[in-house]
């Protein structure tokens, strides 16, 4: 056993991948065993059933239809949120007036659970793409705004002074110091935004849509098809995980000096 443990503790990509796989397998096995004892299939279905349900959805094409609806809405809205969030964050960080007047409003909005307004958005914008797009935008934009402003304001004073001492212009200070310094902060905001965007899209689809993962989960749960519900939740979880891991990797890549 010893050498196996030693191998898994290594800090390599292979070892960390194996660690994830191993813990996933443990969870699946445990789940399968527990579902041998809990036999109410409304409460708990074994992972094998979930896999079958998911496979069925792939075969009949529903998974694809729903994926197209969800992914187009969430990705387009997420990208727009990031762009708008960075622009607003830049504006707030560059103008004291804006940050004094707009800042409190934004942080108030940030702490309001905007997701609760989902039914209203659906009423205003109707069923389908528009209401999903706007709801996702509303929940995903704030983390980007907040981290962009904070990152731009955090820039190290000595670095700025060194740039000034070399006669740097305001624009040069921004491009060579302030912005690179803020970049990893912004990416961490983007990572949070992606997680929030996924929650936003599911809720939006619960309330008003004819297609998408949220829609599929809702309709499956209305027919008490727990395996199908969990199948779609699994797909959403995978999307969340992939986003989170890749943005975290990007953050590390952009700011390797913060690791040590």
């Amino acid at each position: 056993m010893r050498p196996i443990f030693d191998f898994l503790e290594q800090d390599t990509r292979l070892a960390s991948l194996l660690r994830v796989l191993l813990s996933a397998i443990c969870v699946l096995v445990l789940w399968q065993v527990v579902s041998l004892f809990v036999t109410n299939r409304l409460l708990l279905v074994p992972p094998a059933d979930v896999a079958v349900a998911l496979f069925h959805e792939i075969q009949n094409g529903d998974l694809w239809t729903n994926a197209v609806a969800t992914v187009t809405a969430v990705v387009s809205s997420f990208l727009v949120s990031v762009a708008i969030g960075i622009v607003i964050g830049l504006a707030l960080a560059s103008s004291r007036l804006l940050s004094l007047t707009g800042g409190p409003v934004l942080s108030a909005l940030n702490s309001v659970p905007i997701i609760a307004l989902a039914p209203l958005f659906v009423a205003w914008l109707g069923l389908g793409f528009a209401s999903k797009f706007v709801l996702v935008l509303m929940v995903a934009v704030f983390p980007v705004v907040v981290t962009t402003e904070a990152g731009l304001r955090a820039a190290d004073k000595p670095l700025i002074e060194a740039a000034r001492s070399f006669n740097a212009t305001k624009l040069q200070i921004f491009t060579t110091v302030t912005f690179p310094y803020a970049l990893p902060f912004i990416v961490s905001g983007v990572r949070v935004a992606w997680a929030r965007a996924l929650v936003g899209i599911v809720v939006a689809e619960f309330f008003g849509s004819f297609a998408g993962f949220g829609f599929a989960i809702l309709s499956a749960s209305q027919t008490f098809d727990t395996a199908r519900v969990l199948g779609y939740v699994f797909v959403l979880g995978a999307m969340g995980l992939i986003g989170s891991v890749s943005f975290a990797a990007l953050e590390r890549h952009l700011a390797p000096w913060r690791q040590e």
């Binding site: 190290d156 000595p158 670095l159 002074e161 060194a162 740039a163 000034r164 001492s165 070399f166 006669n167 740097a168 040069q172 060579t176 110091v177 690179p180 952009l254 700011a255 390797p256 000096w257 040590e260």
Partner: protein, 263 residues
Amino acid sequence: MTALLRVDNVDKIFSRRGKTAVEALRGINFSIEEGEFVSIVGASGSGKSTLLRIIDGLLEPTKGAVFVDDARVEKPGRDRAMVFQQDSLLPWKTVIENVAYGLTLAKSPWPQASKVAERFVAMTGLAGFESHYPHQLSGGMRQRVNVARALAVDPRILLLDEPFAALDAQTREIMQTELLKIWQESRKTVLLITHQIDEAVFLSDRVIIFSARPGTVREEIKIDLPRPRDLELKRTPEFVGLVDHIWKLIEAEVRLGVTASEG
């Protein structure tokens, strides 16, 4: 012969609304000839860094002025370059990019800038580390990069703010001899701030002693020790005598500074 750098009656008072004003510098007067190596020693908080910032053009004096070649200093310029007390390398740039930073800010194209930077990387003993990042270097190496970055813009006056303060004793001594070598090769005018009296005496033609806050020029001492100097010099009675003399001059001030900052 007119001086290259002239500090003329400089006062600096930091005043911010709602806070008591801090008088950092009062009536500072001195000048430095071309090619001279001058050090400033003084208690912590006596305004040494503030004075260097004013000379560099980062801060405005409250009264008085600084002149380089009889031109009044109003902002940072290419004739001066500063090595800061704090770590101020860009962590996302490699050694070579950091050394070339001042040149790229001055719009020098990369092939030229990197060629110049390479020369100073080699001069400061960093050859082979061009593509390392600052966090992969030791403290001593980071300070070499700082010095190389300042030298690379080919300033007439090099302003050094306690560049070796964070280094251990051995590394500091090595850096001192290397700084002397670089100074002899490049014939720059150097103004160095330091806490170490023996460092000031070892390196300088002249040592300016500051009083505690508000900083004033307490005394100027000419160091007539022969050059080129090596570490042997530090054990000669002349050297020890000079260090002792300066130490006595600022002892009271340092004690004042220490008790003030503790209290």
